[in-house]
Each structure stands twice: as C-alpha cells, then as structure tokens.
C-alpha cells in the first residue's frame, strides 16, 4: 500500500518478492517434511501456497534455487536460536549442554524444518548436479561443534578424543531426533535432551566426578 506512492520504486517489488519467496520457502519446507523430497513437486508446493506453478519459476531460478533457500533459511533460524544460548555459557561443558539442549528445542519447535533438511540432504542428489551438497550444509555445523570441543580440551575440561568423530557423533545424535519425533510424536523431549546431555557430558569430561 505505502509502496504504490513511490512510483517505479525498486524497493516495493523487492518487498513483495521477499514475502513471496519466504512464503514459498515455508510451503516447500512443509511439503518436503510431510511428503519427502521427491514427492514435494513444484505443483504440490504451489498448491500449498495457493498459487500457480509458474510463480515459483518466476521467483526462483529453478527447483534448485528454491531448495537452496530452504537450506539457508533453516540454517539461519537454527543459528539465531542456538548461538545466543551457547555464548551465554562460559564452561565448555556448559556450552556443550546448551548446544544440545537449544538444538533439541529448535527441533521440537520446528520439526518440519529439520525433517525437510534431512530429506533434502539425502534426496537432493536427485538432481544430477547436486543441488545442495551435504558438505556445504552440514560440515560447517560439525566444524563449529568440533571447534567448541577442542577448546574444551584445551581448557582442560574435556578428555582427549578425536573432536571430529565426537562432533559428528553428537550432531547425528541430534539430527536423528527429527525423524524419530516424526514417527513417534509423543516422545518425551525433555527426557531425550537430558539423556543426550548426560551421555555426552560423561563421554567428554576429563575426570569422573
């Protein structure tokens, strides 16, 4: 509305476009989470957005770009939730605990986002040219976690272990919650979070209490 005044404005198109893109990304997330990657056709996503198929092609270069935006969106949202929680802690154990807990909370709150990510991770190779590389999407998360673990070792809080193996293990423990939750919706998340936190607290700390 306000934008009609600024005739020829470049901003206004950008606003509508931004909104549409966000909407389409949301619909894509839901479709992928609920139907799986390969059943989340453009037609299905468009239907969920109550919009014609052409709109997606109009706003995104192709399915590929749409999927990339899904990945980016989820990553950003997760970071926004988790990072403050982690940086609020000062001990390595505390940070690891915050990492696991905030991540599980994010999953609980955005189950479809994570489900979509996992479906994409495995299914996206569908396009001959991988639209989203596993490495690109997941490795940074592992790297960041590994760095956190290493600093815990350097501070003398954590025992010696391969930070990479441990980081991968923790990430997978977390990521696999989403499908589990999907199959068994009344899963006790609090318990699950506590179990994981305890397990990896024990598995990483230097000396038993």
């Amino acid at each position: 509305m306000e934008s009609e005044i600024i005739s020829g404005g470049q901003e206004s198109r950008s606003f509508i476009e931004t909104a549409r893109r966000a909407q389409l990304v949301e619909c894509a997330i839901d479709a992928i989470a609920e139907l799986g990657y390969s059943n989340a056709s453009m037609a299905e996503i468009a239907k969920r957005a109550r919009v014609s198929k052409g709109v997606i092609s109009y706003h995104f270069a192709g399915k590929r770009e749409l999927i990339e935006q899904v990945v980016n969106t989820v990553m950003e949202k997760a970071s926004a939730v988790m990072l403050p929680r982690i940086y609020a802690e000062h001990s390595a154990a505390g940070m690891l605990h915050a990492y696991i807990e905030s991540n599980l909370e994010f999953i609980a709150a955005h189950r479809n986002h994570i489900l979509a990510m996992m479906n994409i991770a495995v299914g996206a190779r569908v396009d001959r040219k991988p639209s989203v590389d596993l490495e690109l999407a997941f490795e940074p998360a592992v790297m960041a976690l590994a760095t956190m673990l290493r600093s815990g070792q350097e501070r003398g809080e954590f025992r010696e272990f391969s930070t990479t193996v441990m980081a991968v293990t923790i990430r997978n423990a977390i990521d696999s919650l989403a499908p589990l939750l999907s199959a068994n919706p009344k899963l006790d998340l609090k318990l699950y979070a506590k179990e994981l936190a305890t397990t990896f607290d024990i598995a990483t700390r230097k000396s038993p209490v």
Copy 2:
C-alpha cells in the same frame, strides 16, 4: 511326464536366474549409492548390468521387489559379519565393542551397501506407497541394540540410562559413517572405530575404571 509333476511345484530358482538376480541387486546397490535413490532408475540399473530394461522386469516383479531384495541382501550380509563377532563376547561391554567395531568394518568393506540402505530409507518413504518401510528396515536394528544394552544394565555392567535413546544414538553414530566415508575416502577407520568404541564404553559403563 514332464508336466504332471510341475503343478504346485515351488521349484527353486535356476542357477542363471539366481546369478542374474544377484547381479541386478549389486548393480542396484551401486546405482543407488552413487546416484541417490530417485536417480537410480531401472534404466540406469539395467545399463550398469549391461542388460536391457526388460530383464529387470523379467526377474523381479517390479522396482519394489528389487529394492526389497537390496534391503534383504544388505541386512543378511551385515548380520553374517556382525553376529558371530558379537556372540563371541561374554561381557556386555565386550559385546557393545564388538558391535561397533564389526559394524564399522562391514561399512568399510561395503560402503555402497550402507549408502544404498540410507538412500532407500529416506528415498523410499517418498513414494506414495512406500516400497520399503523405514521402521521395518531400521527399527529392528535399534531394538536389538537396545535389548543388548538393557541386558548390560541388568548384569550391573552399565549405568542407568534410557536404552532406547542410547541405542538410537549409537546406531546413528554408526550409520552416519557411510556418507562421511563417501565424502572423505581416506578417513582412518581404525581410529574412528576406536574413538566410537571408547566414547560409548565411557558413556555406558557404570563406574570409571
């Protein structure tokens, strides 16, 4: 003479049929592992077997049966490697250790098999009629592991923890090795196995040594 006996006879498969089926299953495994579930079309699989598309239809009732055979084949091979190793142990910790180690060895030796399984697990749900149910293929593995862990707790070897959460965590730590290995082929498997075994030894045992 020849035809009177046949009726009702469940004559077992001919030699050549058995060989072809095995070959096609192998080609399917490779195709799925390398291209992803949905790019592993019958045409692609046939091409890898240097055989016409129709051959697959001739030997398997449909894509569904082929995929089922892939799952069965992998499961059987893995069991054949792992079970003897596990049952050779007598302590719960020993069994867990054998479980992890033999599983990683199997993965190292049959990377494509595991990659195929994971792709099927995610990709197959994607069909309107899931050709292979995730639960059917994976949950039993988790269940078996959980049972093993519970017996460890009952024997007093393991601390108290949710056996389900721990079993899921361990299985995912293992399963996620395949894609990792695929992305990073010169991964030190021995080290990885040792790290995982140590981590879950520490994470499960009752009292620190």
Copy 3:
C-alpha cells in the same frame, strides 16, 4: 483480492479449457472408432489433436477420465436427439417407432460416436480395473427401453412378451448398425430404419391390423 475468493471456489472451467476438452474428446472418439479401443493410445489421440501427450494429462486426470467423458458426451448427444422425438409421440407404437428411427438417424450422423462406444464397451472391460463399466453405460438404455415397452403392454397396445428380452433385442439390432455401416458405407439407412421399425412394430403389437 484475487486469491482470497478462490479458496473452496468451484470456479467453472475456462473457455479455452472447455474447448480443449471438447477437442480431445472428439479426437478420442475418432481414434477409438477408427483404430479400436486399445490402439487408441494417448499418444495417438494427442497426435490427432496436434498437441503434445502432456496436454491430455493436463486436462484430464487420466485415460479413465477421458474415456468417461467420451461416454458422457455421446450419451448426452444421443439423448438430445432422441428424447424430443420420442416424447412427441403419444402411442406406444409411435414411441417405439420414434425410438428406432431417431436412434438410427443419430447413428448415421455420428457413426464414429457409436463405434467408439461399442469399442469402449468391449475394450474397457479389458483393463484390469475397468475404466468404464459396461453395465453402467448400456444397461440404463436397455432399462429405459424395457420400461417403454412395458407401458405399451399396460396400455394394451403391445402383446405379452418379455420386455427385457425384447428390449435387449431391439437395442442390439440398433447398436449393431454402426459396425455394419462402417463396413458398408453406402448402406441405405432410410430402408434399414423402415425395416427395423416395421419388424418390431409387427413383433410387439397386439393384434394384426
């Protein structure tokens, strides 16, 4: 504005869609009449419409729906021609006469329509899942005719006979004209109609004049 209303709206078909559907139904009728049910593939029908195969899928849910539309279309056209002619009569003999004559006229004018119907009737049962049930398409016509005959008996115009057997006989005498006409295009339809009308007039009436 545009999208708020749409939801739930059963907006009727667009002009162009209606035209395409009609065109495709016509092409299907011709293809089925000329090539037989099972040679009338979607590809063939599309080719006749000078349109890509996908267009049929775009406008019809599947072959099934297309065939259903063929049946509906033919039935409606035939009814539109015959019913006024029949209801214009007041004696049972007059109605039967009008029934036979108007039906033959319709067949003469729409030979392919009838040929298509017959091919569908026999060919469609042939699909594992019959796309169009013989009974549904043909029995009503027999039923309606039998009812007309019965009312003629009740009025005392017609002799006693099994209205079902007679209705079946008349319908088949009529329906079989189409293939006959197809094989022998210069058939004298006027004569044929007169012969049939006379035959069944004699065969049904109570007392000779």
Copy 4:
C-alpha cells in the same frame, strides 16, 4: 512313445502338434472370454496351458494365427451343432426356429467360445493389421441366414422384408446373449429362446394366425 519306433516319422510330430494346437486354442478361448481380448496375453494363455510362452510361438506363427485358429475352431463347432438341426426341418419357419434354438443351445453349452468370439470381433483390431476381419468371421453367418430367409419368402411362408436387415437383426439378437449370460448367469435360457423364436416367428411370417 510308439512314435520313437517309426524313426523320422512325419505323422507322429503332426499328432502331438495337433493336440498342442488344440489345447492352446482352448486356453486362448478361456483366457479371452474371461479376461477380455487385450488382457489375454500370450503369457496368460501359456500359463493356463501350463506351458512356456515360447511354445505358442513355436506352434503358431504369432498371436495373429492363434486368434485365427480360435475363430475357425468356434465356427466349426457351432456349425457342427447347428447345421444338422436346421436341415432336419422342412418348413422355413421350422428352420428359423431350429436356427435360433440350436444356436442358443450352443451358446449355453459353450459360453466361453462365444464370449471369446465377441471379444475378438471388437478387440482384435488391436493389431494394426486386423488379425481377424469382422466381415470374414461374421458375414458368412449372416449371409447363410439371409439365404434361409429368402427361401422362406420364395416359398411364400414369410412376408416381404429385407432379408439382410432381418438376418443381421436375428444374428445380433442371438450373439448378444453371450455377454448377457455372462453378466447374469442364472438367466432362463429356455425362456429366452422361446421369446426370441416367437418374436422372429411373428416378425417374419406372412399372415397372422
């Protein structure tokens, strides 16, 4: 067995071949009658004969020849039943009556044969080059009947009518019994035969009694 003695005997092969061909024709008839023309695949027919697909190709030049044999076989059997019955009569009305009754009896006794014929008549155009021409199979029957009717007119027993139209009408009244019987197995055949005989007796005879 006995044939092994007559080494190189041409006769013995002929005997087995004749038997096989007859068996395959029977199986084809049943398959076509029960499943419809296009579902009666060579595989299905072979299965019913408990024989491999190749056998059919071995004994018949192709599906086309097999279908031709089906038509020939049915025609011969029907003639064998009907002709003696017809020629036993001496009045035209008696012959027509015998024609209708013996034909219905044949249908009752060999329902599948007639069903197969009808399915073939409509469905066989499936092959681009019609494997069986409607004309070839059905017109002779109509011609023969028309001739019979004409002789009735010449003798002064029958009224004037187009013998062709009447013959077509009668043949179709008869042929349509098979599908009817198939849809409604407990149909009263005696009644049906009596109705048809009466109807066409009335419709053809010169003067009302």
